[in-house]
Amino acid sequence: MDKLIVLIAGLALIAFILWWFFGHHEVDQAEAKTVADHQAVAIEVNGGYSPERVVLQQGVPATLTFTRTDASSCLDQVVFADFGINQDLPEGQPVAIEINTDQAGDFTWACGMDMFRGQIVIK
């Protein structure tokens, strides 16, 4: 009987994990604020990126400011492979990254090990 309860609990846990990680969940998205022909977005780095989807306007210079509050070394670098940027993120210090918005399109950024990802949409 005990084992049956354990089995059911275990299977329920598996179902929960699958739903939690693979189910459809809303993405934390932000549009950049444009001030004096310059757009800026602040991104908090804690267990991932918030927001993790940033919408930028094409042709307007943009700055993304990353602040890492997470102690994990997993997140101590941010890499924009499309822009050739690889920036260290010291914990607790805001780091500004300039993004060239000349080209429209979807670009991704990721942590140094490519486990966490974010997306820039330039349109």
Binding site: F21, G47, D70, S72, G84, G112
Partner: protein, 644 residues
């Protein structure tokens, strides 16, 4: 309180060590810790201080529906920890040391990894440290020493012997030899005189020169090289897309596998709760995918850094994969295979006399062929420049005038109508012309006294470069706008398989496309007209001396301008790509083999992977991948010394 990884590792070691000693002494019947309560206290410290950040990060990412290696470490150790507390209360066997040691080993791996990552990426930044810190600048007739950042375009900068040249610019006074090896990898000193360009961070050797500053800061060649290498290092090799896909689903799948392992052992095989928990925790710990994530970027970083130090800039990771598949290498002729400017290759007749007459007539001429003759004449020292009377240019024929030795001329065969040439010279004339050379007649007193053959001659290394490529089984092709005869002659001289001549600049790309039907094509070129071909080819290789447009369009830049580097670039790219594949293979194999063992596959044979061993194995796998990438630095690179 903020602790570095190293400090957390130190704390984990101090508090885990008594438990390790206890484990060793256990068989001897010694129990100096006095039971599970002490172990519980020690482990609690490790969990709170050393493992705390893992748990916090795991929770933060869990809330965002993300997962990472911290998720696995945190769930694995927390499970072991709380299970052991429960077991301690019930008087069952505990495994606190498992939780503490996993944390210790994972942190050990991270300490090393952090150091190695810094080592892999730091090499290129160090290049920038090579710049001079301050420089002597002449302003308003006064010499002042100022930091290089204060130099502005147009400043006149002095470089004394032995000093580093502070800026990119042009020599305006003085003469010297410069060691440019730090920037371009070129091993021989380069002679510089007024009008020549010098590169910042190269070393001035024997003369004092004044330089007009032209490119500063981020515009300088050194800064541009560093930028180019950095963006290559951060670019992604396509093979990495595979690991991208794997890593997003990996952690949740492992979590499910761990629960399934537990259920299977506990419910189906009926082992004790403790044993089932051990298996589940081992699965979680061994499955960390960091080795997989590190495999490609570290190899790319070390590899492109290595090639950069040898004057080969690889602009992105994608090209590495293509280079290994290249079947045909196509070369532009002028400036790539050849020097790019005409030089005298042969003088028939009494050389000194022939050159003396010719250079007297050509002394004032701006014609490129005249320049070639004057350069050659300099070999014989100062040639008497005498006034030439009655100097006259005959368009389409040449020049004539009255020299001290008599009436003389320099020109093409149209002069033959009113001059005499002996049969021996006539034979030489035909031979040289058949070699695709421009032949100039030199006459004195109504008689042809000699011939000067002029050609845009092949670079010294061209022949060897082609031979090396052929031993690699690659077909070599020359693609040029020059006429068939000249192209054939050069091709034969350097040993090129095929010639496509008389191609209009706009058609170059189309010819590349045709060649691509057979297999991937690499194109080597330097001119503005080569840019479309460089972009069309699967691998575009630009000569460093080439135009900015060419360098922009190429995937690989040969800074040294040495054609033998084409083979070196191909070899090294293949090597880096092979290392990436090797790394991925080991990272995958490790997970594929480790998982079933951790899940208790060999339990029946008495072989079990405890959580702490799983933690050690996982740390080793990350380290071995990074080490394997760093070993690329040991690759021997054959650089052929330039022969002149």
């Amino acid at each position: 309180m903020h602790l570095t990884i190293k400090q957390r590792f130190g704390i984990a070691v101090v508090f885990s060590l008594p438990m390790v000693v206890q484990m060793i002494l256990m068989p001897a019947g010694i129990d100096f810790l006095g039971g599970p309560v002490t172990e519980w206290v020690l482990t609690t410290v490790v969990m709170a201080v050393a493992a705390g950040p893992f748990i916090k990060s795991a929770w933060a990412s869990f809330k965002k529906h993300n997962s990472n290696m911290d998720t696995l470490v945190a769930i694995g150790t927390v499970t072991a920890y709380f299970y052991s507390i429960g077991a301690m209360v019930e008087g069952q066997p505990v495994f606190f040391e498992g939780a503490a040691l996993v944390v210790t080993f994972i942190l050990l791996g991270q300490v090393f990894e952090e150091r190695m990552r810094a080592q892999a990426s730091g090499a290129v930044d160090k290049l920038l440290d090579l710049q001079a810190k301050e420089a002597e600048v002449v302003r308003n007739g006064q010499t002042i020493t100022i930091p290089v950042e204060k130099i502005v375009v147009g400043d006149i900068v002095r470089a004394r012997p032995g000093q580093k040249i502070a800026v990119d610019g042009t020599v305006v006074e003085g003469k010297t030899a410069v060691d440019e090896s730090l920037v371009t990898g070129e091993s021989l000193p380069v002679e510089k005189q007024v009008g020549d360009a010098v590169i910042g961070a190269s070393i001035n050797q024997n003369g004092t020169i004044l330089i007009r500053a032209e490119k500063l800061g981020s515009d300088s060649l050194l800064a541009q090289i560093v930028d180019l290498v950095k963006s290559a290092q951060n670019s992604r090799a396509p093979i990495q897309q595979l690991t991208d896909k794997v890593s997003t689903v990996f952690v949740p799948v492992v979590l499910v596998a761990a629960i399934a392992t537990f259920l299977l052992w506990y419910v189906a095989f009926g082992v004790s709760l403790g044993t089932a928990v051990v298996f589940a925790v081992s699965v979680l710990v061994i499955a960390c995918p960091c080795a997989l994530g590190l495999a490609t970027p570290t190899a790319l970083m070390v590899g492109t850094g290595l090639t950069a130090r040898h004057g080969i800039l690889i602009k992105n990771g994608e090209v590495l994969e293509t280079v290994s598949a290249v079947k045909t290498v196509v070369f532009d002729k002028t400036g790539t295979i050849t020097v790019g400017q005409p030089t005298v290759t042969d003088v028939v007749g009494e050389e000194e006399r022939v050159l003396s007459v010719a250079s007297q007539l050509e002394a004032g001429s701006e014609h490129p062929l005249a320049q070639a003759i004057l350069d050659r004449a300099k070999v014989f020292g100062q040639i008497k420049v005498e006034e030439v009377n009655g100097f006259e240019v005959l368009p389409g024929q040449g020049v004539q005038g009255q020299t001290s030795a008599g009436p003389a001329f320099v020109g093409n065969q149209r002069f033959l109508d009113h001059q005499q040439m002996n049969p021996d010279l006539a034979v030489s004339f035909k031979t040289l012309q058949n070699q695709g050379k421009t032949v100039v007649l030199v006459g004195l007193n109504q008689e042809v006294i000699g011939l000067i053959a002029i050609q845009d001659a092949p670079k010294a290394q061209s022949r060897q470069a082609m031979a090396t490529l052929k031993t690699r089984g690659l077909e070599t092709v020359m693609l040029t706008g020059d006429n068939q005869a000249v192209a054939e002659a050069i091709a034969q001289e350097v040993g090129i398989d095929r010639v496509i001549a008389e191609v209009m600049p706009a058609e170059k790309a189309a010819h590349i496309q045709q060649l691509q039907e057979v297999g991937p094509v690499a194109f080597v070129g330097d001119g503005i007209n080569d840019a479309p071909a460089l972009a069309t080819a699967d691998v575009g290789i630009a000569m460093g001396s080439g135009t900015d447009v060419a360098i922009e369009s190429g995937n690989i830049v040969l800074v040294k301008n040495d054609l033998t580097d084409v083979a070196t670039a191909i070899d090294l790219s293949a090597k880096i790509f092979k290392r990436i594949k090797l790394n991925l293979f080991w990272a995958f194999i490790y997970n594929v083999l480790g998982l079933p063992i951790a899940a208790g596959l060999f339990y029946g044979l008495g072989f079990v992977l405890s959580p702490e061993l799983a933690g050690l194995a996982m740390a080793m796998s990350s380290l071995s991948v990074v080490t394997s990438s760093l070993l690329l630095n040991r690759t021997k690179v054959k650089t052929t010394p330039a022969t002149i």
